[in-house]
Every structure is written in structure tokens, then in C-alpha cells.
């Protein structure tokens, strides 16, 4: 490995010897693709013809009026195929898998969006597919498990550790170590060993490129600020990378969970509770104890419930180029409710972190100003989680009724 992928000392490639040759091969394939002008073109064509890009930039007039500050534009990754920004990265890596001649992909998933996107790509590209998902997430995101399996993927429920995203990542790496020749690991966020942070950003940067063009067209100016939620950091890196060279403030919203004081959150950069560590192949900020053991994390949004954060975002914080804030579960649920009622948009719980942070801040900006919020995904797929977050009584009655129906049917079949 030649370029170790460091950003202000964050990043690197801390990989077991068994994967060194595989990472060399991946880096070569990625460098080769980047320098091939037809590659980006074929990627953008695929994203247009299969995923419906470019996604729109929508002016949220009612919300803007309500807050009375900057005009709020929303980048609509919810309208990307499979319902989130995850497909941008997955389709790009799929093209690389084809170039490398591999036949099988594995992936981790937390919320299930990345798993569904990967299973979709694998079905389209004719690849075998195994998805690793923490047992906790399998339970809270069951509908996505259903879709992954319908799409032909094998879903493995991971029962180790905290049984969430980080444990799914460990298992995906272990699978890759056992099958390095046939298999590619489609890592779903801008974390992990080099070249993943750079490569995932390269594919996700399509968001920022479109958004910059669109905001100049529609608003006639650059935004004052761009907001994105931050799990591992892929949607944030995607939209931020369109504005890195502009006088635009970049704001990342992390999961404040039950509050930073509660210990039940996933804020690695905001609030100073993360510390520098090396895990899952990269050096960045992690939520860990004094011995270096990773702590349990919590968020209402499964996709943000993760111990580490992109080394490139850690670098942007250190250099002062981006700012990070924590948003609590209850602020997120309120922001989501408001967005649905005022705009008829249904952001994913992950994305709603970015909305909530923007809502806190837009009043402080002038009416002529513009901000962009990245709606990284749609929330209607998370109906179980959202209905629970809203404590919706009608939904509860429906589930109870369904359960009774299934129970009665099984009883009937059992006695027949």
C-alpha cells in the first residue's frame, strides 16, 4: 500500500496481514477507475438510469416561513432508488466489483438501508450477497430484513458484542478475511481502512456536486450553511464535498440520544466525549473507555448508532472546516413531526438529526440567506421505529390485531 490515506493524522489502514493483498488490489482498482474518464461517466449514467438521479433540491417554503430566517432547501436523497443516499456508494462499488471480476459481496447494515441497497445492487449485477446485521438491529428493522431476503441476500444476525452496527462490521471483515479472492466487502460509510473513506466519499460526492449546481440555479447563490446527519459520515461527506472550496459553513449533526450527560448517545465529535483510537481498521475519534474498550452507543436512529466516525470528518473538525453538534432523540422526533406536517416530507430518523439542527439555527440567519439540509433517506420505510417513537396508539392496536391474526392462523394450522 502506497498512500496510507491520512487526513491530519486520522485514517490509515490498520488491516490484518491476510487482507493486505486484498486492499492493495482494491486500491489499484479504485485508482485505475478514477483515472479512467469513462468510469465516472458510466457511474453517473447508471445513477441516472437506475436510481433516478439527479435528486431534486426542494425549497421548504412553509418551514422557511415558520422560522422566519434563512430559506431552507432540502436535498432529496430520499428519492434515490432504495430510499436513501446509500445506493450512490453501493452502485459505485458494484461497478468496481465487476472491474475486479469478483462474484460475491458482503456488507454490514445498521438501519438496514445499506443492506437493502447492497442486496439491490447484487441482484442487478448478478452477485452473491451476504448481509451482516446486529441482532438488536434485526429486531428493530425487521421490514428491511424482509426486503433483503426477498432481494436474494442471505442475512446473518450477529449476536456478538453490543449486537449493533460495529459488530456487524467486524463480522463482515471476518467473512472477507476467509474469502478474500472471490469476495468484496461493500463498506457502507466513509470509515474503515484506506481506501474506503476516500472511495465512499468519491461516490457520495455526486450529492454535493448536484446540490451546488442546483442551489446556484434555483436560489442564485451559495448557501450560508449545509447540514447533514453523521453516522459514519458518508452522506455528510457526500454533500460537504460539493462546498469544500466555498465560503459555506458545514454542519454535522450527531446522535445526542438521551443527552450527552446520560452516556446513552453516539456523539463522537460534538461534546468532547470521543477520544482518538484505532479500531475497525482506522484511526479516528471513538466512544471508548480508558482501557480502549468500545462503549455501548445509543440513538433512536439505528444508522447513527455507531462508535466511530469518518477520519475525513475528524480532519475537517480539527482544521476548523466543519462544525459538529449533537441532537437528542426527542428533538429529532419533533423535527420529523414538524417536517411531515409542514412540508409533506418524511425524512428518515437519521436525516431528521440534520433537520433539527438546522431548525435550531436558521432564525439567526437573514431572510436572504439560504441553507441546505441533506435528507439522506426516507422515513416511511422505518414505520415500526417511527410509529414507536411517536407512540402511535392506532399503530399499536393494528400490530396487536395482526399478531392475533397470525397467532390464530398458526393455531389453526397446528390443529388441522
Amino acid at each position: 500500500m502506497r498512500n496510507r490515506g491520512y487526513y491530519s493524522g486520522f485514517g490509515g489502514a490498520y488491516v490484518p496481514e491476510i487482507l493486505v493483498a486484498t486492499f492493495d488490489e482494491l486500491e489499484d482498482a479504485f485508482e485505475d477507475a478514477k483515472s479512467d474518464p469513462s468510469f465516472r461517466k458510466s457511474y453517473e449514467q447508471l445513477m441516472a438510469s437506475c436510481c433516478g438521479r439527479a435528486t431534486p433540491l426542494t425549497l421548504a417554503e412553509n418551514l422557511s416561513e415558520r422560522f422566519g430566517g434563512a430559506r431552507i432547501y432540502i436535498k432529496r436523497e430520499d428519492l434515490n432508488h432504495t430510499g436513501s443516499h446509500k445506493a450512490n456508494n453501493v452502485m459505485g462499488q458494484g461497478l468496481l466489483v465487476k472491474r475486479m471480476g469478483k462474484t460475491r459481496v458482503v456488507a454490514e447494515t445498521g438501519a438496514g438501508q445499506h443492506g437493502v441497497a447492497t442486496a439491490t445492487m447484487a441482484a442487478r449485477m448478478g452477485l452473491e450477497c451476504t448481509i451482516y446485521m446486529g441482532e438488536v438491529d434485526v429486531i428493530r428493522q425487521r421490514p428491511n430484513v424482509f426486503w433483503m431476503e426477498r432481494l436474494g441476500a442471505t442475512v446473518v444476525s450477529v449476536r456478538d458484542g453490543s449486537r449493533t452496527l460495529k459488530d456487524a462490521i467486524n463480522e463482515a471483515f471476518r467473512d472477507w478475511m476467509a474469502h478474500p479472492d472471490t469476495t468484496h466487502y461493500v463498506l457502507g460509510t466513509a470509515c474503515g481502512p484506506h481506501p474506503f473513506p476516500e472511495m465512499v466519499t468519491y461516490f457520495q460526492s455526486i450529492i454535493g456536486q448536484e446540490a451546488r449546481r442546483q442551489v446556484l440555479n434555483q436560489a442564485g447563490k451559495l448557501p450560508k450553511r449545509v447540514y447533514a446527519c453523521v453516522g459514519g459520515g458518508s452522506n455528510a461527506m457526500g454533500i460537504f464535498s460539493g462546498f469544500l472550496d466555498d465560503d459555506v459553513e458545514l454542519v454535522g449533526a450527531e446522535a445526542g440520544g438521551r443527552g450527552l450527560g446520560s452516556g446513552r448517545h453516539a456523539s463522537r465529535l460534538a461534546g468532547g466525549q470521543g477520544s482518538i483510537g484505532i479500531a475497525q481498521g482506522y484511526r479516528s475519534y471513538f466512544l471508548q473507555d480508558g482501557d480502549g474498550q468500545m462503549r455501548e452507543t445509543h440513538s433512536v436512529a439505528a444508522g447513527l448508532d455507531y462508535i466511530g466516525v469518518s477520519p475525513i470528518l475528524a480532519h475537517l473538525q480539527r482544521s476548523g472546516r466543519a462544525r459538529f453538534e449533537a441532537v437528542t432523540d426527542s428533538e429529532v422526533v419533533d423535527a420529523m413531526a414538524l417536517t411531515m406536517r409542514c412540508e409533506g416530507l418524511v425524512p428518515a430518523l437519521e436525516s431528521a438529526h440534520g433537520f433539527a439542527q438546522a431548525f435550531k439555527e436558521v432564525r439567526g440567519l437573514a431572510k436572504e440567506d439560504v441553507v441546505i439540509v441533506n435528507q439522506s433517506g426516507r422515513g416511511d420505510k422505518d414505520i415500526f421505529t417511527v410509529a414507536e417513537a411517536f407512540e402511535d396508539p392506532g399503530w399499536r392496536a393494528f400490530i396487536r390485531h395482526k399478531a392475533e391474526q397470525y397467532g390464530a392462523r398458526e393455531l389453526h394450522q397446528g390443529t388441522a
Binding site: M177, Q288, G290, D291, G292
Partner: protein, 262 residues
């Protein structure tokens, strides 16, 4: 005595030496100490003591489970180092530490190395730290007169084996097949050819790990490597048969490794 000369001297009496592995604090502090005692009494040549980590990415289900159990039991890094120091004091064989890089990083890499040296340990195995990322670690180990044990794998090129050999000390840990710890290995022609490449790449003793369970593995290694590593299988044996099972496992492996007709 330094690891390399210890191994070479010991090899004059036996064809293949035995290195066993334990996770410190599995299933608890006391019983992991009893396991070490049983292994030493049964004739093991050297031991690898794993400091548990919450994200042991190169370990399979058995060792992963042992890491989690040890942590859930409250095992701390300083508790592990005390344990390792006691082993080095009580038993007359070399001990090396195995852990993941974050454990050393959080402790302070130089402080960790100095502490290992102060406790009488001989070296360390850090499977998620390739030498490209290891300048601080390699310097600290060198200053503390400890051996950084590096890994080879079947897909390591000859060129890279030579590069790794420049930084490795003590012995080289040869992973026998792709994958994590715990699964069985076939003693195939490919494995023989790979061990031949390892042998050609370094003068250091070769230890072969991943999947060795019985005397067959020991016999296979005669003339091909210097040390057999038994990891997951000894944990499985402990789980099924307790300390007596460990004792007879180690005795039978040592018996299979005496000098004699192949």
C-alpha cells in the same frame, strides 16, 4: 534469553515446539491462571497471553466469545498486565502478549512496551498493526528489548515476506489459511508450498497457527516449521473438559513432537 535463541536451543531437543494461547480472564482470573499452570506443567514451550479487546477483528467465534466473557467479568488492561507479570515470574517459559493495537495505543505505546519489559515478558503479537503503521510500536519494542512478532499469510507475496522479515523479531507467526482463528486447516500441498516460501523468506523461527488440534498437525509440521500454535482448540477443550482436559491435550501434543522418524 531472547526468544529466537530460546527457540533455536529448544529445537535441538524437539522437532516441533508448542505454543498455546489463552485469553486472560477467561472464564475468570483464577481459572485462566490454572490453565496456564496446567499448560506449563504439561510441557508447553511458550505461551501467548491475549489481553481482551471489545473488537477482536481477526478472531473467530471461540476466541471472540472468550474476549467478551473476560471483559464482562471486569478484566482490565492493568489487571491483564499483572496477570502476565505473575506468569513470567512463576513459570520458566517465555510469555508474549497478544492484543489489538487500540489497547496499546490507549495505554501509551512506549509505556506499554516498558511495562511488558519490566514484567519479564518477551514480545508481542498485534494482528491489526501492519509495519507500515507501526513506526512508534517498532521503536518502542526495540528500546524495551522486546520482540515484535509479525504475521505472514498465504497471500503475502515473496516480496512482502522479505519486507516483513526486516521488521520481525523473535519468530514469525504464519497464518495457515485465509480466515479468522478457529476453523480447521487442511494439511495440503498448497500449505506445504506456502511454508516453503515462509522458510525461504526469513531466518527467524516459524510458528504456524490457526486450526491445529492434534498430533497429526504436529507431525505434519516436522521439518516445515518450528512451532505449532494451538489457540481456539485449547479453549474448546477447556470448555468441554476443564483443566484436566487441557493437561492431557498439551501432553499429547508435546509427545507427538519428540525427535524421531517422521
Amino acid at each position: 534469553m531472547a526468544l529466537e535463541s530460546y527457540i533455536k536451543a529448544r529445537r535441538r531437543q524437539r522437532d516441533v515446539l508448542l505454543m498455546t494461547h489463552i485469553v486472560i480472564g477467561y472464564p475468570d482470573y483464577g481459572r485462566s491462571m490454572q490453565t496456564v499452570e496446567a499448560m506449563v506443567e504439561a510441557g508447553v514451550d511458550l505461551m501467548e497471553l491475549q489481553v481482551p479487546f471489545s473488537e477482536p477483528i481477526a478472531d473467530g467465534p471461540v476466541i471472540l466469545g472468550a474476549n467478551q466473557r473476560a471483559l464482562a467479568g471486569g478484566m482490565t488492561v492493568s489487571g491483564c498486565l499483572d496477570f502476565a507479570g505473575k506468569c513470567a515470574q512463576r513459570f520458566d517459559i517465555p510469555f508474549v502478549i497478544m492484543s489489538y493495537y487500540n489497547i496499546l495505543h490507549r495505554y501509551g505505546v512506549a509505556a506499554f512496551a516498558d511495562r511488558m519489559s519490566g514484567l519479564g515478558l518477551k514480545g508481542a503479537i498485534v494482528p491489526d498493526l501492519p509495519p507500515e503503521e507501526a513506526r512508534e510500536y517498532l521503536n518502542a519494542m526495540d528500546r524495551a528489548c522486546l520482540d515484535p512478532i509479525l504475521l505472514y499469510s498465504p497471500n503475502t507475496s515473496d516480496e512482502r515476506m522479505a519486507y516483513l522479515a526486516e521488521h520481525a523479531r523473535g519468530f514469525v507467526y504464519c497464518v495457515a489459511r485465509p480466515g479468522v482463528t478457529g476453523a480447521a486447516t487442511e494439511f495440503s500441498e498448497e500449505l506445504t508450498e506456502y511454508l516453503g516460501r515462509c522458510r525461504a523468506a526469513t531466518e527467524l523461527p516459524l510458528a504456524v497457527g490457526l486450526g491445529i488440534r492434534d498430533g497429526k498437525g504436529m507431525k505434519y509440521l516436522r521439518g516445515k516449521a518450528d512451532i505449532a500454535i494451538v489457540g481456539s482448540h485449547s479453549i474448546r477443550t477447556f470448555d468441554e473438559q476443564g483443566t484436566p482436559g487441557i493437561r492431557s491435550l498439551v501432553q499429547s501434543l508435546v509427545a507427538a513432537s519428540a525427535i524421531g522418524p517422521p
